[in-house]
């Protein structure tokens, strides 16, 4: 060590003695880089709005993706961020909580009557709003004038119910920065309906809509962040109940079931896990057993556990996705994600790879010394509805958004500390 090094250390020593013995540490300096965060609007669906546990409610909204991002943008120039908050934590009344049943935590509806105030339009009292995430919104809904008349979640805060569009409300705020995460519901509404009746928006229509959205948002020079969408196979709602969920441990029950299906020799049961029996109009017998790779919806779990679904009574078509349907969904997710990446690149937007993030999280991943995975309830990433994220899940995704923004705009937006957000509440 040379003299030039020793001198400052001696000075540091003397200064420290004068300043007491409290350790100090260099603070991080946030920086907006090439982005301008002065006015931030967040467009999207339930994932942007803060929907979790089957409902949009006040505490969930505090931990919404949009609000978490805004909180961090406050360090880099954001002045104000206003959310259309629910009056309470009941929302429209569909919220799930965990209750103890046979010593196990199980999601059940939360008791309580929705307050009419939760349904009232808040724009004149508390608007305008920067979090424009609307649960249920599909990509084309964002440009749809009058969408508030069809969607009560938008009706709550639209600037003008008969004429407003989500995009119109966003542009009225003259945003300098935006987030746009959309497309999940275009996939989900098909998958949740098990492909019955619905069709998925063709990729070419998705491209037109996505480019129109980005084009309008960037027209006045705003920059922004977008994100791709996860596949349904990554979501607990579709990934929790295995195709062979029928666990038989009693030889008498095995014999009984084999006997009951004697007319259908392609269906058989044995001790251990068995594929569920389902209705399938494409099969010549009208019923069959599921095959490996086919997905059973979480909404069938109670029927399978308690009502004999998939064994005494074949599972109806709306509760599972066959291989063809899964391929159909997967192809669309890939096509949408290609369009999102390509458009983001063309418009110099940050792009968050949420699809990859959830792939990484599936086998288990640590953030800030907390273990997460994508399992239903115990995994910590998803909320009790098995589709939407938990508060910590939104925090993890918010950090991925921030990484993408920092990288695209040479910015230094600080990340959130994951452990500061509430975990799943167990009874």
């Amino acid at each position: 060590m040379t003299k030039t090094h020793i001198l400052p250390l001696i000075l540091l020593f003397l200064a420290s003695l004068l300043g007491g013995c409290d350790a100090d540490i260099d603070a991080f300096s946030p920086d907006p880089g090439e982005a301008d965060f002065t006015t931030f609007v967040s467009l999207g669906n339930s994932l942007t709005a803060g929907f979790m546990d089957g409902e949009l409610y006040r505490e969930g909204q505090h931990n919404s993706l949009a609000n978490l991002l805004a909180g961090q943008f406050m360090h880099t120039g954001l002045e104000d961020f206003n959310q259309p908050l629910m009056h309470d934590d009941i929302g429209f009344g569909n919220r799930l909580i965990l209750a103890e049943a046979d010593g196990q935590p199980l999601p059940v509806p939360m008791p309580g009557t929705p307050d009419p105030e939760n349904f009232e339009n808040k724009y004149n009292d508390a608007g305008p709003f920067h979090n424009l995430g609307v649960p249920g919104a599909r990509i084309q809904h964002l440009l749809f004038e009058g969408y508030a008349t069809l969607n009560p979640y938008y009706q709550r805060f639209a600037a003008d119910i008969p004429t407003s569009s989500i995009m119109g409300d966003a542009l009225a705020l003259n945003p300098s920065f935006f987030s746009l995460w959309i497309g999940n519901n275009d996939i989900l509404s098909y998958a949740l309906d098990s492909g019955e009746g619905e069709h998925i928006l063709p990729p070419e229509d998705f491209r037109v809509a996505f480019q129109a959205l980005v084009g309008q948002l960037t027209q006045q020079g705003a920059s922004g962040v977008t994100a791709n969408i996860p596949n349904i196979t990554q979501i607990p709602f579709f990934a929790t109940v295995p195709y062979n969920a029928l666990l038989l441990t009693d030889p008498d029950v095995v014999a009984l079931l084999n006997n009951a299906y004697a007319e259908a020799p392609h269906i058989s049961f044995e001790l251990g896990p068995n594929p569920l029996v389902v209705y399938d109009s494409d099969h010549m017998a009208g019923i069959r057993q599921l095959e490996k790779g086919e997905l059973v919806l979480l909404s069938a779990l109670n029927g399978i556990s308690n009502e004999g679904w998939g064994s005494q009574e074949p599972l109806s078509g709306e509760y599972y996705l066959n291989a063809k349907q899964i391929e159909h969904v997967t192809n669309h997710v890939e096509a949408y994600n290609d369009i999102i990446s390509e458009t983001a690149s063309n418009f110099n937007l940050a792009m968050t790879d949420v699809n990859q993030l959830l792939k990484d999280a599936e086998p288990g991943i640590y953030f800030d010394a907390i273990a997460f995975n994508t399992e239903f309830i115990s995994g910590g990433v998803f909320s009790l509805d098995g589709i939407h994220l938990s508060a910590r899940g939104y925090a993890i995704v918010a950090n991925a958004f921030i990484e993408a923004i920092n990288s695209q705009y040479q910015a230094s937006v600080p990340k959130v500390a994951i452990g500061n957000y509430p975990g799943i509440q167990f009874p």
């Binding site: 409290d22 603070a27 103890e100 640590y366 800030d368 600080p414 500390a417 975990g423």
Partner: protein, 410 residues
């Protein structure tokens, strides 16, 4: 003896520290502390029993008793890894490591002594609900050693010595679990104590021209807590079976071996200068394992990689006799961290330490010395992470340790 142990156990109750690298505590005498923690080659008094048993038979006089206590004011600051504005600090209680030595010459050449001190310990409390609470919220770790020692002067220039070491260790730690229920966040509290044996041996060389050299070795002692308490609190009732209420845990922590080499020189009758190399075999601390008696799917045994490396600490200092009644001392040392920066756990925020020391003694009568010391440690800020659980940031520490003691010799 009984009385001494009572005193010791009272001190233990309040004794907590984090002073040298890892969880080593090197406060083994006020005079040594004043001179940058050198001690291996010094034949000052009964403290040689610990610092170098080989030097004990060369102590001046026939009888020596030394006792002292230090107050450790330690503070650690944390800045989460970029990009983040999150910061946290420790709120540590005052800790008070102590030392007591007594020795006498049984014959012209044979000395016997005893050393009681606290060579290892660690105590910190992070602020409530800090971001690293799932790794550690607070910890109190301490080892107290009792060492009866014999030393024999082979010639006027050479003496040897060895001591038997009994170490008592206790650990008490708490961390949060990422599980939330009606009572808030769940916690795991671990509490246990144990004892084990080792040895301390050394050799001392003294040249009539005023040169002294010492070499000593303290063996590794493994502190193996068996059946310590593992108490889970705030566990939601729906998860109660996953976390057995009154579980037990085995946990083991090495007190690493030390190899010390010291050189000192009485330059003038008033001036003593010296240096020491303190080599710590931290490589023994590879993993911290919590082996729970009752495992469940949610509660497997916990393996936490540490991967420490051996370290060499370089120390230098000196003592100046101003008058026969007053001595002044100064010193310093550099203590590189034994911690692997990829496996840095905030339970032991040990950084590269740069330390400055000072000391003063006052002798109202020639037999009695009142000794004071001051040690100031700067833990140099550095980026560290616990990669297995993806928790990183930069840490910085400041430690301020005043100490007071007395020594009496005939």
């Amino acid at each position: 003896m009984r009385k001494m142990f009572l005193m010791v156990s009272w001190l233990v109750a309040t004794s907590t520290m984090l002073q040298a690298g890892g969880y080593e505590v090197s406060l083994h005498g006020q005079r040594q502390v004043g001179m940058g923690l050198i001690g291996t080659s010094l034949t000052l008094d009964a403290s040689a029993a610990f610092n170098n048993p080989g030097a004990l038979a060369m102590m001046p006089g026939q009888l020596s008793v030394v006792g002292g206590i230090n107050g450790v004011f330690a503070s650690t600051a944390f800045q989460m890894e970029a990009p983040s504005v999150y910061q946290a600090k420790t709120d540590n209680p005052l800790s008070t490591p102590f030392h007591f030595y007594a020795a006498g010459m049984l014959t012209d050449r044979l000395a016997a002594g005893i050393a009681v001190n606290t060579p290892y310990g660690n105590s910190l409390e992070w602020e409530d609900a800090w971001a690293g609470r799932f790794l550690i919220q607070n910890i109190s770790l301490m080892a107290i050693t009792v060492q009866p020692t014999l030393s024999y002067r082979v010639t006027d220039m050479l003496s040897v010595g060895a001591g038997f070491v009994y170490a008592h260790g206790a650990v008490d730690m708490e961390r949060a679990l990422p599980i939330e229920g009606p009572d808030g966040e769940a916690r795991l509290h671990i509490d246990g104590s144990t004892g084990n044996y080792g040895f301390n041996a050394g050799i001392q060389f003294a040249h009539p021209a005023g040169f002294q050299a010492g070499l000593s070795y303290r063996s590794q002692i493994d502190m193996e807590v068996e059946g310590g308490d593992a108490l889970f609190s705030n566990i939601p009732s729906s998860l109660a079976t996953a976390f057995p209420a009154n579980n037990k845990v085995d946990v083991s922590l090495p007190l690493p071996a030390n190899l010390d080499f010291g050189l000192s020189y009485q330059a003038t009758p008033d001036l003593l200068v010296g240096m020491a190399l303190h080599y710590v075999f931290w490589g023994a601390y590879d993993e911290l394992v919590f082996d729970f008696e009752e495992n469940t799917a949610s509660l497997p045994d916990s393996y936490n990689k540490r991967d420490y490396s051996n370290t060499l600490i370089i120390r230098a200092g000196g003592e100046y006799r101003v008058t026969p009644e007053i001595y002044l001392r100064a010193g310093g040392y550099f203590d590189p961290t034994p911690v692997n920066s990829e496996y840095f756990s905030p339970e032991t925020p040990s950084l590269d330490n740069l330390a400055f020391t000072g000391g003063v003694s006052f002798l109202p009568i020639p037999e009695l010395s009142i000794d004071a010391s001051l040690l100031y440690i700067i833990g140099l800020e550095e980026d560290m992470r616990y990669t297995p659980e993806n928790f990183g940031g930069s840490y910085s520490t400041r430690i301020f340790i005043p100490g007071i003691g007395i020594s009496y010799q005939l």
